[in-house]
Subunit: 339 residues, 2 copies
Amino acid sequence: MVETTRIVLASRPEGAPTAANFRTETAELPPLDEGQVLLRTLYLSLDPYMRGRMSTAESYAKPVEIGAVMVGGTVAEVVDSRAPGFAKGDVVLGYSGWQTHDVADASYLRKLDPGTAPVSTALGVLGMPGFTAYSGLLKIGQPKAGETVVVAAATGPVGSAVGQIAKVKGARAVGIAGGPKKCAYLIDEFGFDAAIDHRAPDFAEQLKAAVPDGIDVYFENVSGPVAEAVYPLLNTYARVPVCGLIANYNSAGAADGPDQLPAFYGRILIKSLTIRGFIQTEFVRELYPDFLRDMAGWIADGSVNYLEDVTEGLDNAPDAFFGMLEGRNFGKVVVKVAD
Amino acid sequence: MVETTRIVLASRPEGAPTAANFRTETAELPPLDEGQVLLRTLYLSLDPYMRGRMSTAESYAKPVEIGAVMVGGTVAEVVDSRAPGFAKGDVVLGYSGWQTHDVADASYLRKLDPGTAPVSTALGVLGMPGFTAYSGLLKIGQPKAGETVVVAAATGPVGSAVGQIAKVKGARAVGIAGGPKKCAYLIDEFGFDAAIDHRAPDFAEQLKAAVPDGIDVYFENVSGPVAEAVYPLLNTYARVPVCGLIANYNSAGAADGPDQLPAFYGRILIKSLTIRGFIQTEFVRELYPDFLRDMAGWIADGSVNYLEDVTEGLDNAPDAFFGMLEGRNFGKVVVKVAD
């Protein structure tokens, strides 16, 4: 018998989640059926969407049930296999969630080639966040050479890929991030044309000065005050792919007035804006092979860099998760669960 | 010398416009230059966008200046011509605004064939409102056979065309209008599948019952409480062409809370919605010939009907305009200026 240590959802948060919403427990895993593999988690991905799964509010996916293991993408090593094509020692991308071991159907797994890039990148730049950036920017944002693309949380795995893909396409990339260290990194390592600190008192003025030709694509992954500063700068026919609203994730109930919706709606009309929500799964069938080919190529030729924020040990996953929701991470948040 | 009687903008409205915002005056027209024609207005179009032109609030077009003639599309007869291809007696579509006569450059005019349809339809179903419906529905809404299309102000020139074109494309058309008379007309004359009275106390419940498969396209031309009832019923991947926001046109300043924007934005994400503002001029070059061919064909074969609300006399244009903004019109509002 193999035991897994796992973090389950103990209760649903009201507002920001806390340690009390999680509980660590151990459980015995069942024996392998035909077509299954036993996995030992190496890396667990932490992502903003997980906040949504903790709540029962209407969403695009079902919430995690109370007592169930928290969901999450994982990179794992095959420890035992009854599935053809999967052997002990293989490294795979899976979806085991916040736990150390798992019995998984092999049909849900994708074998990774450790020669292409460090396997943890399958959770970031070469995985779901990178594909979110790639599909949302290219299918919805459609940046043209010379246009201006703005993205927030820009040192994060989605934002950094958005800005760098925009540069590949000949557009100007303006990143928004929290604090001077992140802003410097945007310019020096990710090659953004401008970086604005959203904590600056004159943030809105700085942003305006950084986009002399206005904004053609705003890749929306935060909403809130950043979006309020961006919207007045959008050009006619600007596109806004909406992939996340991290500023809203922890809000409970109705927001205080005044009601900004009529003015927002009016701007959509006046500027002929396109606002388009999306979940990357919509584009997997159409674009995933292109993404893997393009992104691996851009990493290889230096067009795209990536940054990981690695936390050691599954026990520290909740704290790393809270930090990410508050923007305290610096790069893609992964938990190193085992060597 | 020819004199024109014209209605000019006397002052800018605060909230709903009143008679005091207009002034009637007469003016002598200049002699014709080469390439110009003298026009006698037959019909003046009244449209919701004109409310926007009365104000200095940011818009997609410049406001009418104080003392200038109110803008508007017109059908006119050529009285005198110094332009090749235009002869006395020709009937043309032009943009003379709220006046009885005009000297116009022929390059801005389009000759009408009175044999195709009554010439007043060049201001409605075969003109700007019809093209707004055609281009917004087909380019942005993209209704598929079996899908459900909802439109408000549905007996108006845009809404009635939206519903009927949706039917041509095999979709289900649900119209929203004010009062039982308009609702009956939607079913009996325009062939909508369902019609809902937005004045009914249980409007939202009636709408929900009328769209058992949800809503795939919401053609937005009113906003306000109608939109509030529609949004929760939108399906994943629904499309919302936004061509007008008549409920907001008269509002001055910030709206009372609570702030509905965060919830609205969340819905865009959860349902992968496409919200797209547009002005029909964007699509003229690409689609206008197709529109004229298709719409004339649909009128001829009975697929598309139209309804005009004709007011006699330029003096009555302001009252007809106020009525339209309040939804008291029944069909496309045109002013018959002369026989």
